[in-house]
Symmetry: D2
Subunit: 276 residues, 4 copies
Amino acid sequence: MCRWNAYLGQPLLIGELLYRTKHGLIDESLHSRMGAETTNGDGFGVGWYGIADRTVPARYRSVNPAWNDVNLRELADHIESPLFLAHIRAAIGSPVQQTNCHPFRHGRWLFVHNGMIAGFQALHRDLLLAVDPSLFDGIAGSADSEVLLHLALSFGLEADPLGGMERAVGFVEEKARERGVENAVQMTVGISDGERVWAVRYSSAHESRSLFLSEDVDALRRLHPDNPRLQQLTEGDRVVVSEPLADLPGAWIEVPESTAVLLEDGGYEQRTFKPC
Amino acid sequence: MCRWNAYLGQPLLIGELLYRTKHGLIDESLHSRMGAETTNGDGFGVGWYGIADRTVPARYRSVNPAWNDVNLRELADHIESPLFLAHIRAAIGSPVQQTNCHPFRHGRWLFVHNGMIAGFQALHRDLLLAVDPSLFDGIAGSADSEVLLHLALSFGLEADPLGGMERAVGFVEEKARERGVENAVQMTVGISDGERVWAVRYSSAHESRSLFLSEDVDALRRLHPDNPRLQQLTEGDRVVVSEPLADLPGAWIEVPESTAVLLEDGGYEQRTFKPC
Amino acid sequence: MCRWNAYLGQPLLIGELLYRTKHGLIDESLHSRMGAETTNGDGFGVGWYGIADRTVPARYRSVNPAWNDVNLRELADHIESPLFLAHIRAAIGSPVQQTNCHPFRHGRWLFVHNGMIAGFQALHRDLLLAVDPSLFDGIAGSADSEVLLHLALSFGLEADPLGGMERAVGFVEEKARERGVENAVQMTVGISDGERVWAVRYSSAHESRSLFLSEDVDALRRLHPDNPRLQQLTEGDRVVVSEPLADLPGAWIEVPESTAVLLEDGGYEQRTFKPC
Amino acid sequence: MCRWNAYLGQPLLIGELLYRTKHGLIDESLHSRMGAETTNGDGFGVGWYGIADRTVPARYRSVNPAWNDVNLRELADHIESPLFLAHIRAAIGSPVQQTNCHPFRHGRWLFVHNGMIAGFQALHRDLLLAVDPSLFDGIAGSADSEVLLHLALSFGLEADPLGGMERAVGFVEEKARERGVENAVQMTVGISDGERVWAVRYSSAHESRSLFLSEDVDALRRLHPDNPRLQQLTEGDRVVVSEPLADLPGAWIEVPESTAVLLEDGGYEQRTFKPC
């Protein structure tokens, strides 16, 4: 059910994180350790903000497995970004097609999701109906994740990202209960407007997928002594990952259950995530 | 805006029609003469019924251009069928992905469409809402054609194919008018249940895309004197095509405007198509 | 480094073997137990002989992972064949492209390979030069396996399949030694002319990848009591597999090291495989 | 048989040239006016040099038609480059696969080709044998164009681009004549090392495909008065195109038959191209 990474800091070649870390996202696509599946080979996507302009994120998405996509390697080796999100997919139901690959995008916003809406097939129509009609045509694919984003947008994500997401999750849980589906939401999500990153770990059953935050930049440097680019990272450069890039005591902060983290200006803060 | 073919008759190698006719569908994918576009390279699909079992049609669909798809050639050269529909796509709006490739399928039914719903982006939500909730999750893609089929199913296509389609088209035209869109529907469609083929030529503006019916089997034989398989066709084997497979006086019957044709048991009949 | 299956017997829906066995090839594509890799997601292919005509095998090959290819499932559920080979790929070096997907084909011959030629990059040119010039243009891709087949064809495979293969392997080992590469060949291969199947297990280091033969048809039946189609198999229907379709004492014969098996007319015989 | 563009000048968004010109390469992919085919839909590629580093060009290549590739549009709208080559393919023989898409690359060199080697199937082996063994494994695909590049590299392209190309073409013509193939080479090629662009128009029969050079920057500006980015082009920014981006008297210099042009430092010079 997918894995993802986010990076926020000084401009970094995307490939440093994806390919040249011990257990980066490309390695996870074949050998996920903490995911619901070992293999995440049903497409992938990267969304990044430019160095000069952070208002219009670019995307590269493909239905190929991330590990064998030649273009991803090319791009990752040539594109620098101060803020990017990458996602690998293990499809559970919806078709393997580009429009179902993350990150999803709305204006300056990017969104990645690891998890699922249980019973989505039965809920799909109800949830679509609750999407604001003005946002309806922004839904290009058929994935539960894209609907979740558009619900959050409908419930105010742009003005209040965590509030919008809490209301969207609460709504999904309520609709699911009406149809007899318990524990409807399983998710870690990453959200960005180009300046900040919100990372949420939540599931209705309080058994959420794994999510970690890099403790500090020293951690990333110590983890990869042979990677000269990563050695240049400085205070405040930070990653959020579904799985630690490598094992190292003190390097990673596990995001607690039902918790949202906001990364901004080199620091971060966290608060409870409570659907309503 | 697409082109299509249908064949009904004694079992025939699919490739005889697609590749080994003068102006078959593969040639049309590059060199359409009567279509809205010369090139129909945004994916394709073939749906066929088996010789022994006509209740579960098979499909092969791909986002490749039909002219360069190696697998299509392989399959067309090895699969015989007494009834098949083939479609090449020129996308106008919805993504190039397998779930937007025709034929669409519902149980034993196959459906191909050449044309469009004008202003679909604005109408999409309204039309989806009118699809019977029990059919909603059968919509896998985002094409207007697939919604049109599911509207027709909602309005009774399985019991009364032409009636269901007339009501669906009428509904679309009405919803479009409400939003100020005139001449909403442009279509030729092919529908089959494995035994019969319904072919409809209609557009709200009465300027419909081209559609032809083979006059009789002699026509097909005379058109391709060097094709031994086509020489074996007998009375009642028939094709419906967006564009004639070759020029020959008397070989083709142009389906009139606002007309539906039913092919069955070696014969055919036609009647007016009148949305309601 | 790939996994494969072959079936020889009364006509069978391809999907019965691929999808509706306990540990069929589709399952192996995600969860190989005995392969060099767990995941075999770098494309796949199926080659099959027709019921009426066994002289021109058909192929469907794709770069998608087998587990998520919708067309494979469609075809497997509609195509019956008395003899087919299926292969899933884990690429090690050569690009993920259709022309590198097995089975390779030459006239009526199909060929699948699990394994590799060590140091192929350095040997590639020498080996290509040894391919008979009349066969040279049959090489469409860049995989070591395809070169191996064309060497075997150059060394007489069509007249003497095992002899041709032994000479090809011997030649590769010799050329490799000249360049200081020991243990050049790792392989299990499946070869068919539409009537018979040759299966070989061999590696220069005598540590070959796994290969099994179904003991008898009772085994297949007992393994899948709930599969009505497999219940209809009769004496002499047989499969060769990289990995057993399920665990059952007595059901599987492991092909010994350096051994070739010939399946024909419901029976089989084996002999030593000795490169020369 | 393909079309291509090259740009050399101040950093420019790739998309300005590909999408936001009157008859850019994306338009040519569907509506080529001067090419051997109207449609160039068998894959495409873009190679670009970075603003900071011109030693390692990046590539994005795909088998999709350029006109419907969503990722190409994304990248073209976000990547700026002072020197890039773009190519759209109409395959004539070799498979539609990424490794057959241009630009081909060797170290810092990029290479695009419009045209063909006549009788390539018969010549393929001989030509491959003439490639320097040290370069042999750089050939990843099966296209005649890639072999031509590697012959030119074998004959000294890196030290003397035009000399290397002349010797390569002369060699091909000679080998072709030995096999009774006259007029073996048809080509326009674009070659770059990241600093300069060489453009050659040549064919053995002296009936070469079209090739044009922008007269001066004023031309590009006048052609697109509504494109603010193109208005900012200055003296010395220049494009080479298979087909003019728009009709405008004096805007385009047709490269003469059997002629090579070198673009460098804002100026250009031309000389006769004479295979030897």
